[in-house]
């Protein structure tokens, strides 16, 4: 079983409207790099000028906010990408 990334609604247009994208085993950083490599249009949303995840994008894993992208993703893990929203 692979890990998967949950794509927020705001980014689904760039991944053919998929809600989950499977990623090979590795760290969170490697999973994000894989996602961006497969869907280059995400680069603008998931990469800041220094190549890191922008501060306005949050990651959640196993029920908690994730700060450390060197964490290893286990098979079956769901990495949740949360883009900022302000619809009111």
């Amino acid at each position: 079983m692979m890990a998967k990334i949950r794509i927020p609604a705001a980014l689904r247009a760039h991944v053919h409207e998929q809600i989950y994208v499977e990623v090979p085993s590795g760290t969170v950083r490697q999973a994000l790099d894989y996602l961006i490599q497969e869907y280059p249009a995400l680069t603008a949303y998931l990469t800041d000028s220094g190549g890191s995840l922008p501060a306005h994008v949050n990651l959640f894993l196993r029920g908690h906010q994730l700060e450390d992208v060197t964490v290893q993703l286990n098979p079956g893990d769901e990495l949740y990408i949360a883009t900022a929203m302000a619809g009111g």
Binding site: A9, A55, H56, M85
Partner: protein
């Protein structure tokens, strides 16, 4: 229709609670000596919620004594205000600029067709007063900005963040920290929504979670009224809980859900010690 800006003094104080966890309750400390008893009419109107365990006459009386500030009273904030008025909150401070547009009407349920082109705040007050003529409403025909936020937040017991622009949300957050007021944060996009309740010094603030705005955010976003209304009703319940002490507020936890798939996720979130807005606050347990 007339409305005016009030500068009333706070009727209830706010102090930081002792502990927030998944098993504890939280409420704004109230000065019970100042609580006005319920009238016979109020007991009749709220009869069905007075029987909610953990709420009762005490909770209703606290609600009657409380003031909530709603930042923007549109698709989300309009439903927050409507539910709070229905539940019997004593006073609403409502900030919303502009005139009713036809594109408001799919979700902003306090705006009416007959009020197209006229001030939104007037439609908002009229609709709320039709439901609950007892609620005191302070209508502010402006959106939250650096000039009005401190004054409006200082007059409230709890604030609800429903603005469609990050600049307004960040300013409301800044002032909620300055004045130590709990802030219920609710927002949506497409069929997704998020909700959390920030308690200054206890939980993260909006800037901990979101230190900067996304450059790609646009003023117009995809929205069904039912999605905006769903998170609004959840937010209204958070306000009722924080005021009355009922249940467990969503503090230190972020709810995100997607009505496209009906998936609901709840995540733990933590304070950032280097947060420029709340990092200086002493940690409260």
């Amino acid at each position: 229709m007339h409305f005016k800006l009030h500068h009333a003094m706070l009727r209830v104080g706010y102090n930081v609670p002792t502990l927030i966890s998944s098993t504890t309750t939280y409420s704004i400390p109230m000065n019970s000596g100042n609580l006005e008893p319920l009238s016979d009419e109020e007991r009749a109107i709220y009869e069905w919620q007075l029987s909610v365990p953990g709420f009762g006459v005490v909770g209703q009386t606290k609600l009657k004594a409380a003031t909530a500030l709603v930042s923007r009273v549109g698709g989300v904030g309009g439903l927050v205000a409507y539910q709070l008025a229905a539940a019997g909150i004593g006073r609403l401070i409502l900030a919303h600029a502009g005139n009713v547009k036809s594109s408001d009407l799919n979700r902003q349920l306090l705006m009416t067709y007959d009020w197209l082109g006229k001030p939104r705040i007037e439609s908002i007050i009229r609709r709320l007063k039709e439901l609950n003529p007892r609620v005191e409403i302070v209508g502010v025909p402006e959106n939250i900005n650096v000039d009005n936020a401190s004054r409006l937040v200082s007059q409230s017991d709890v604030v609800i963040d429903c603005a469609p622009l990050f600049e307004e949300r960040f300013e409301l957050n800044r002032q909620s920290i300055v004045h130590r007021k709990p802030m219920v944060e609710c927002a949506m996009y497409d069929l997704e929504a998020h909700l959390t309740t920030f308690i200054p010094g206890v939980t993260p603030c909006l800037a901990c979670l979101l230190p900067e705005k996304p450059p790609t955010w646009t003023r117009q976003f995809p929205v069904f009224g039912a999605v905006a209304g769903s998170v609004a009703c959840l937010a209204a319940m958070e306000v009722i809980k924080v005021i009355s002490g009922l249940g467990t507020p969503l503090s230190g936890r972020l709810l995100r859900y997607d009505l496209r798939t009906m998936e609901f996720h709840r995540f733990g979130i933590s304070r950032k010690s280097d947060c420029p807005i709340c990092g200086h606050l002493e940690e409260r347990k």
